[in-house]
Amino acid sequence: MSGNKVVSEILRDYIYNSLEEGKRIDGRGYDEYRKVSIETNVIQSAEGSARVHIGNTDVLAGIKMTIGSPFPDTPNVGVMTTNAELIPMASPTFESGPPDAESIELSRVVDRGLREGHAVDMEKLCIKEGELVWIMFIDVHILDYDGNLFDAAALAAMAALASATVPASQFADQYPDYDLGEDFPMPINNYPIMSTFVKIKDVILVDPALDEETVADARLSVSTDPEGRVRAMQKGLNGGFSYAEIQDIVRKATEKGNELRDILMKSL
């Protein structure tokens, strides 16, 4: 990622040395997030939207909704599609073109957190079983990339959902044979939150900044719900975790999930 090899070795040494002294290079505690801010309803053309900053990482999520057929094997629930775009605006390392493996992983992990966390009551997005359901697109646009996209994207997507309105009245003309009702708030069911940790040498850090990601050995993202239940996990990078480390991370993820959820609830 961070280009030049010499630069990246110097960076690694610097981070290693700091950690040996028990410090992160930006002065944070190991279990401390950067400043997290959430602003909802920032895009009027979207049914719901949120812009999330985690430090300098800047992410914009928007919800669009339309009406269509359900999948044959799930006739009574709406359809949800999550897509994250690592647009080249956000980083010199992101390229134009079809989504690469990193974008696809990000999209799928964000999707899994929301889906398995039952963020939305998808049955309430069924209009007529087997015939017509709401189709929901969650699009996450990465605007400025300074590490920890997983948490920023998941948080922005959750906030956008929580602030969204299902635009039923707009579609009344198009579907005269169905009772779509009035516009209604997105039927939120749960607030799963993703929290990501990396391992650098033997140290576990939450919310890695880009420089930390660059030298990290292993990464684990854990999505938890308000009751502290685990809803999704994704390990990344080519290092390994011990079982004890994973237990430790899962426990901390619940704590951190609660902290971020508080910030989210205040933004709504």
């Binding site: 895009i43 669009k64 080249p88 699009d139």
Partner: protein, 252 residues
């Protein structure tokens, strides 16, 4: 242009559907230096349009066969966020985006001193976060500011602004309904200081005189927008200077 509809775009007082006078712009807000990672950036709100522009470079042009031995190339990627429009836009470039990227690139190449950076690419990314008619002009306006914010040597700033015709009246800066149901749209890229027109398109139906009147309206308005661009950059430089002063003071 020209979807038919029983919609009155100019009222009996000569005012437009959003209350503007024919020669009146929508409100415009420009901010420079809004992103950390990019070498330069700008944010433009123009009516209900919300547009970000970022610049990276000069950097090595790749793939290599794009490199020019005697100058830099300016590569523009105009992109609409999926949620920026009424019906979700599928991610990835469509034919409209490719055309807009191309003409925006040509307009910017005119002002960037490309000869200073052989074999390089100056990459401009325009992201339309919310679209409401006139995004190519707003994007061009934003891109100019982002290039200047990136410290790219330029002959001048380019201003993007459109004019057109609705209900047989020549008007400045078409809004969404005017764009859909009006009679003509003329987007322009203009350099107020030199009077050069570096981007120009038109579609619809206009007499020569109407076209010329529209262009004159745009050229007038461009001077005002040019002021906003410079003001945004001035604020940005002040902020940088202030930050640097604070840093020096912090050290002392």
């Amino acid at each position: 242009m020209g979807m038919k509809m029983d919609i009155e775009l100019i009222d009996k007082n000569g005012l437009r559907i959003d209350g503007r006078k024919p020669e009146e712009l929508r409100p415009i807000k420009i901010e420079a230096g809004v992103l950390k990672r990019a070498d330069g950036s700008a944010y433009v709100e123009w009516g209900k349009n919300k547009i970000l522009a970022a610049v990276y470079g000069p950097r090595e042009a790749h793939p290599r066969h794009l490199q020019k031995s005697n100058k830099a190339i300016v590569q523009v990627r105009y992109n609409m966020a999926p949620f920026s429009v009424g019906d979700r836009k599928r991610p990835g470039p469509d034919r409209r985006s490719v055309e807009i990227s191309k003409i925006t690139s040509e307009a910017l190449e005119h002002v960037v001193m490309t000869e200073l950076f052989p074999r390089s690419s100056i990459d401009v990314f325009i992201e339309v976060l919310q679209a409401n008619a006139g995004t190519r002009c707003a994007g061009l306006t934003a891109a100019s500011v982002a290039l200047a914010d990136a410290g790219i040597p330029m002959k001048d700033l380019v201003v993007g602004v459109a004019s057109g015709k609705v209900d047989d009246v020549v008007v400045l800066d078409l809004g969404k309904e005017e764009d859909n149901y009006g009679q003509a749209d003329v987007p322009m890229g203009y350099i107020p200081r030199t009077g050069e027109i570096v981007l120009l398109q038109m579609d619809g139906d206009m007499t020569q005189e109407e076209l010329f009147k529209a262009m004159e309206m745009s050229m007038d308005a461009a001077k005002y927008i040019y002021g906003l661009q410079k003001e945004a950059l001035r604020k940005r430089y002040e902020m940088i200077a202030r930050e640097e002063t604070e840093e020096i003071e912090g050290v002392q």
